[in-house]
Symmetry: D2
Subunit: 304 residues, 4 copies
């Protein structure tokens, strides 16, 4: 099983009272699969994993597997603070049919490099699914070292990396060493605004949050990249960067509330989601902020 190409981190629609909105979710997943995405990553940071109870997490996995029906591989985030808790999540994901799991370094806990490495080894030992390391220092406050990643790839622990580190220099070095050492390690970038640069660096695909809103642009970009049409790769990236402004126009919002808040609002405006409800303690975009998102959608031609 390959894990490359476009693998959006799936955003979860909620009903007005905070339940998972199944009808919207079906529309949303089918829209992305129909657009030609190569996989789906659920329960990632924008998939509100840390805002979801264990029950909700199970529901999201179960519904996703049911809707996807094997059309594309499903990667499941098993995001929790430390090894014992992550392994519990990983077993649930495995039992519900995940094709691969995605884990971060330990967080909240203050540990060092040797504990981080041991963490990934123990997860793989406990649950023998393809394992992706999720490098996201903005959430876990530590950067995974390329040297450790390469060691873990060589030992068969890691299948790939989902890179949201914001460190393009480190990513280039990792990609180059991976190739030189002949390692089978799938490198996916999470930075939807500079996927073209990541492709130049050797990325095998992307995990674009913005792909929830416009999956086609990333699919077409990936095809252009495979065809070696770099000018097209670049043009599509400029378009996506303009569309990404839906996340910077909301006033008075930051982080998850601005980013996922804008994705949900755009999907509501596009008729995919019923509401733009956010999980507590985040409040949905309202009024002029919704209007601002609509304005960007109009400028980029997604909305009339």
């Amino acid at each position: 099983m390959r894990f490359d190409g476009v693998i959006p981190p799936v955003v979860a629609p909620l009903t007005a009272d905070g339940e998972l909105d199944i009808a919207s979710y079906e529309r949303h997943i089918n829209r992305m699969v129909d657009a030609g995405v190569d996989g789906l990553f659920i329960l990632g940071s924008s998939g509100e994993v840390v805002f979801s109870t264990d029950e909700r997490r199970k529901q999201i996995i179960t519904e996703t597997m049911r809707i996807v029906e094997g059309r594309v591989p499903v990667l499941v985030g098993v995001i929790d603070t430390t090894t014992p808790r992550v392994i519990e999540q990983a077993k649930v994901a495995r039992d519900l049919g995940a094709d691969a799991i995605v884990a971060t370094a330990p967080f909240y806990a203050i540990v060092g490099p040797k504990e981080i490495e041991r963490h990934f080894r123990l997860i793989k030992q406990a649950v023998d699914l393809p394992l992706f390391a999720y490098d996201i220092p903005v959430c876990v406050h530590v950067k995974l070292s390329p040297a450790m990643i390469l060691d873990l790839a060589r030992d068969g622990v890691l299948q790939g990396v989902k890179d949201s580190s914001g460190d393009d220099v480190s990513f280039r070095n990792l990609a180059l060493l991976r190739t030189e050492q002949g390692l089978d390690l799938s490198l996916l970038t999470g930075h939807e605004v500079v996927v073209d640069g990541a492709y130049m660096s050797g990325a095998d695909g992307c995990v674009p949050g913005l792909g929830n809103v416009d999956p086609k642009v990333y699919v077409e970009q990936w095809q252009a990249r495979k065809a070696g049409d770099w000018e097209r790769v670049r043009e599509l990236q400029d378009y996506a960067a303009r569309l990404m402004r839906i996340t910077s126009v909301p006033v008075g919002e930051v982080g998850f509330g601005a980013g996922v808040g804008a994705f949900k609002t755009a999907l509501m405006l596009l008729g995919v989601f019923e509401t733009n409800t956010m999980p507590e303690p985040v409040v949905a975009l309202e009024g002029s902020n919704v209007e601002a998102v609509a304005g960007v959608l109009r400028q980029t031609g997604l909305l009339d």
Copy 2:
């Protein structure tokens, strides 16, 4: 019910194969209660909350309540990433008999000040127990603002603060404003090496990790503080600062592995714990590091 004085964050003993060691735990809790502590804080950062599965968390609460038998109040850490998950933990703690709960700001999730404030309000709404805010930027990577804390105290949301912020200037300002505004807000410091300074600033007590190893020194210091004997407060603090070196002598260890690793090792050397086993992915101190901890215990007279 008062929450002041010495309230150690209880370290959990494990058997060699990683189970909760009940016999050691009984010895440990009784030793602290007998020393005269004013409360116990379980499932805090050093109480390995983020290393414990939900099952283990329940076991720790249940066993603690059974052993303590109401002799002192028990504060329970309900540490999880965001509001829905924290509320779940809070309900469990309440149902198992917690006297108070302790929650941090959201972590991993990237949110702003308004979400942090809403987070505490929603927790209090869901579970009407005395609620402490746990200010620990080294783990959650955000500092709670004194202005927000005072607002929440005024509205009856917060009962107190467990301050592990490392920001003594902010703590002084908070304590002064709390007093000027006549608010009933219990301020406890988590910095066991400078409790004397915190008492000068107006702290109502302390939550010293080192109090696991030597509860008596903090109890005596609190009595000296109440008696206004500041020279004694200071002398005892200097002694405690020397004892705290058990956490800096281990070589090649950082964070939780060095700190809690040293506490567990000291308790093993003192005959309170059976082992110094650590939760995964952390490995227990060994060999010369154990010897180094023993050396400090001998220098401070705790070990012959």
Copy 3:
């Protein structure tokens, strides 16, 4: 020559067109010396060293030495990016009569611990005056390690430390080790809001920016500390903490503009400074911000 007690970091008055205001400066220095301060620290962070050209720095040293006339020792900040530039500043300070010099770790430059240690050794080699290490991570973005400080004290390189690190735990450990090792190292705290805690930890004095506004309170506090009257030490600290609010009431200002801006404004309101002019690119407090500072001065009784 002793360097202990109260050593304010002298704020420099400017005329409306940005020149050093000599008449105000004489009033200011004489007011502090008359209040009984034990020394003066010029060209520190609040002494606008990094806002002053070399010419201005020389003028400040020259005028200070002339006004002080040996009544108290004068410590001179030799704050610049790296060793060659600091040594130049140190030679100027020596030639103009400095009693001691104060240097930070290198900044802007990205160096490691061994370069920091070599930096201090080379400064001392070049200019054989009493040398203080200025530990101010908020400006130079590195914390000096207690182990390095102790080594440098043992080798006669450092005479003392001006601690503005905000790390009270580290300060306690440094003070304790210094005493245990019998080193002659003067430890001065720069945190004017928690001097009482620093005295508990073993500080030999303070370098309070707020001492520009009210030098008497720190002088009286130091006397109380020497007399062992800790309750008085604490009361005076609470008073000073309330007065320090002049720096938090200005709206729309941060850092140097808020802090030194408020000190200058208070000194203007107290009739010591002619203006509250700030060095470029900072703009002086105006309108309601001046009024807010005046309000705090009235509340604390400094202004009618």
Copy 4:
């Protein structure tokens, strides 16, 4: 005058006793100009500006202008803590013939956004040369906001940006807005390992430290970029990324000591520099570290 293409930040050769090595400097500059670079940036971070006294800075400018003789434009770093000091440096640069000047945000000083903007405006007012903003948070600990940069470009204050921010997402957004708004703002990337990605984002050129060692590769890459030959751009980048390993092979060195230390060592091994002497307090690479640099040069074919 255009400022685009390849503009290496010139590394300064020193004699064994720390003087500027004029003969080596001539060889070095001529080698880069002969290779076809489009400009030279002197007294940047790797040009040891913060390690140089004012006298040395003047000498470097003077010698550079003499050697270059107008063959390419010379940009001069006027790097100092705040406005008054930067303006002094800027006047010197202007008087010695600089074609453009490059300034960072204030550093050491704690200021906010409005002071940063005023800083650039005042510099431009004082010295009417083309002004580049040097965005280098790793040294000055603040990131320049794209919105401010665009405002300053619109008002004719900024001619360009030298981006060493490590934030490729922000760079993409800046480049896109600059183009959409029709601003004449030259965007140069300082990240020599991912210049291809920066070109995809719209960069007008690069300021590659590694261009000191191998200027030809960056010149050829820039030509390929202008020709739209993206595959070639990428191949050359991979080669440069491998060569950049000279900076990661030294053991026990960090930051400037590792980076510029490796550049100087490579230039010594290539016969361009006489020595690899570093400015105090940094020590030159020695022994096995020199050998490691030589190893990388051999692997990449620069050394036999």
